[in-house]
Symmetry: C2
Subunit: 403 residues, 2 copies
């Protein structure tokens, strides 16, 4: 595609939406869902191409209906769906469905993983004869396999992080605070068209671009599910960049997301001001080795669980048994995670994730280790799984950059 | 307080937590709650001082118990609560409560407005004899009245937005995109210690600092509940700053949040490159008049509903009946909203909000009008209600700044 950080001005193409609907409708038939109601922003966007507020009603055999609470004109402009109807309130939904000559479903799928309890209880009353079932696994499974169009968007996002890695050295200065560095790098990304906001699906997960962490303070475990933590700006935002100033010789880990047209890639690169201690460079080399080992072995058919255990074993063999992916109770229970419209998509590269990995899954792998008293060291790339194995979308040099 | 954008390094003081607990426990007695479970980040933080993941168990007459899933050391450091206990999984909660010599409550309050349905259904099974009730109104009502300590944090946040307004003119340039301007201003705010992330409670609400909107494109209605919208970066993030370039003479509205130690203030100021049309300046003057009229009349005892109607009537009298706070179905159903740890707190300055406003409530008022074909024009300040009326925390000059 021709655009380079220019306004994409592209709506999600009709063929994308059709393909996605076909996939989810097949799952509905297979798993016995007569209908499903989608409320969450990215679920609705994925199947309709618009974020205008409302509810998307899916059925296994018929055209979906997009009910819109406001800005129906913008919804019609952005979405290629045929049936778009106004809906003032959730209360009116059963009548609105019946009005469109559609019968009410007896088994109704809902996003139980994130739908507010209050809305769930209201739907229970509005559809008294329907059996309400969790539909989030089907939705997440469908969104897990990326199309060529999605992978192209992810490649564009990865160009942002490649450029970012090149730009970092010119912004690094001893005495600069992590927050000041964050401001410079975020401004750089906004200049490239970054939407700023990084979405997560999980309740209570909060992400802001990513983490800039330097020195021993960077290994403080945070409240989010991540191997990295940091001081943050204080107890009210106790993760990521903080007021701490960059010091010579300490590892500086920059784990930032690129984002293009909603699609996110995740990348971590290491920097330092002056040469760090040899244990830092050795640990980094070990994490690169862990990464290469996983890359060598990964092909369609292996499971996230297998990858995770390969990584943990390789790290242990290389001397990092105790602090790989964090320490003690704060150890992150994964070494990778799916990315796409959200940062916490499937698959998980984690224990007990027993689904076979398939072609066109996209996920980040982030082998990282804590060096107590020194800092966080590691690498992260976002990959697409092809028939031949893992292809890295993130292309920034993996050299530990000493500035 | 002495600090100025420096690391606060302050934990939420014990006297704050005690005072807050006393308030919510009185409500529990009054409204008949034998217990309440708090899951949401800011609800837990507000009553414990830490965001480390877990569940806060409140009872009307006894010490609360903070159950922590991970990072219990950091939780103990950040929180002044006495009873902090580890909890590996929600499944273990009833046993963990009984182990602490506490009986299981028969009426259990939950944050039904935002608690995921899946968690709700799990609690239903874990506490089969408990009556599960919505506790979110009590929580939001408690958080609505700010303490002197909170107001001091809000004043610090307002110093950021005052400085921001002073800095804007030096960053404005014709031909700069809204996104590029956003990057510069966000970097400025990070330099001042801004946490970046702006929290909302509402499901599907997404905020990123705020909105920079210029010219006619700035009035496109967005998916969030706001009078302002904008193109955003595309259909996947269709609000706020976009690729549009700043043009001479058009209104540029900068609606950005300051944030200090988690506390948010909301401020909008107007700018233009060269003199805008007289209708822009007239509309701005009208919005200032609407604001002043509300300010003159507001004192403890009036309702949010009254304020809203005063504003709508004043705007209509000044010639802005049709496009005040947006147009048609996209009109925002409010003229103000509470702020604090989240951007969508209570009170609402909105129709049907019939609670009497009380001393130490903090809310933003944002009379704004759409001039079709021209742009969005308006003003926004964050106020604390005192015995004498509204005091503005945001202190930036309200002059329409022509650069």
């Amino acid at each position: 595609m021709a655009y380079e950080y220019s306004p994409p001005g592209l709506y999600v193409p009709a063929f994308e939406i059709e393909h996605r609907l076909q996939g989810i409708q097949e799952m509905m038939v297979q798993d016995g869902f007569e209908g499903a109601l989608l409320f969450q922003n990215m679920d609705r966007f994925y199947f309709s191409g618009t974020m205008q507020p409302g509810i998307l009603f899916l059925r296994p055999q018929e055209e979906p209906i997009l009910f819109i609470r406001k800005n129906i004109d913008r919804a019609r402009e952005e979405s290629s769906l045929e049936r778009i109807a106004p809906l003032a309130s959730l209360r009116d939904l059963p009548a609105a469905i019946l009005e469109m000559d559609v019968s009410l479903p007896q088994t109704l799928g809902l996003e139980l993983d994130i739908l507010p309890a209050q809305t769930y209880l209201q739907i229970e009353k509005l559809f008294p004869s329907a059996h309400l079932l969790d539909f989030s696994v089907q939705l997440r499974r469908c969104r897990m396999i990326k199309s060529a169009w999605e992978i192209e968007n992810l490649r564009q996002a990865a160009r942002m992080t490649a450029d970012l890695a090149l730009a970092v050295p010119s912004h690094l200065e001893a005495g600069l605070s992590e927050l000041e560095l964050a401001g410079r790098l975020e401004s750089f990304l906004r200049h490239k068209g970054h939407q700023g906001y990084i979405r997560t699906r999980g309740f209570n997960q909060e992400v802001f671009y990513g983490h800039i962490l330097s020195g021993p303070e960077g290994v403080r475990a945070s409240y989010i599910d991540s191997p990295s933590g940091g001081l943050g700006t204080g107890p009210a935002f106790s993760q990521g960049a903080g007021f701490k100033k960059l010091r010579p010789g300490e590892p500086i880990s920059i784990d930032y997301c690129g984002c293009f047209d909603g699609y996110i890639v995740d990348q971590t690169r290491m920097f330092s001001l002056g040469t760090p201690g040899p244990e830092v460079l050795r640990a980094y080399q070990a994490m690169i080795e862990v990464q290469e080992l996983i890359k060598d072995r990964t092909q369609p058919g292996v499971t996230g669980d297998q990858l995770y255990h390969w990584a943990v074993e390789a790290a242990a063999r290389l001397g990092h048994r105790n602090h790989f992916m964090g320490s003690g109770a704060a150890r992150a229970a994964y070494v990778g995670h799916g990315v796409g419209l959200e940062l916490d998509e499937l698959p998980l590269i984690a224990p007990h994730f027993s689904w076979s990995l398939e072609e066109n899954m996209v996920f980040a792998l982030e082998p990282k280790v804590i060096l107590p008293g020194i800092g966080l060291v590691g690498v992260e790339n976002t990959y697409v799984l092809t028939r031949q194995g893992l292809e890295s979308l993130t292309t920034a040099s993996e050299d530990f950059q000493i500035v």
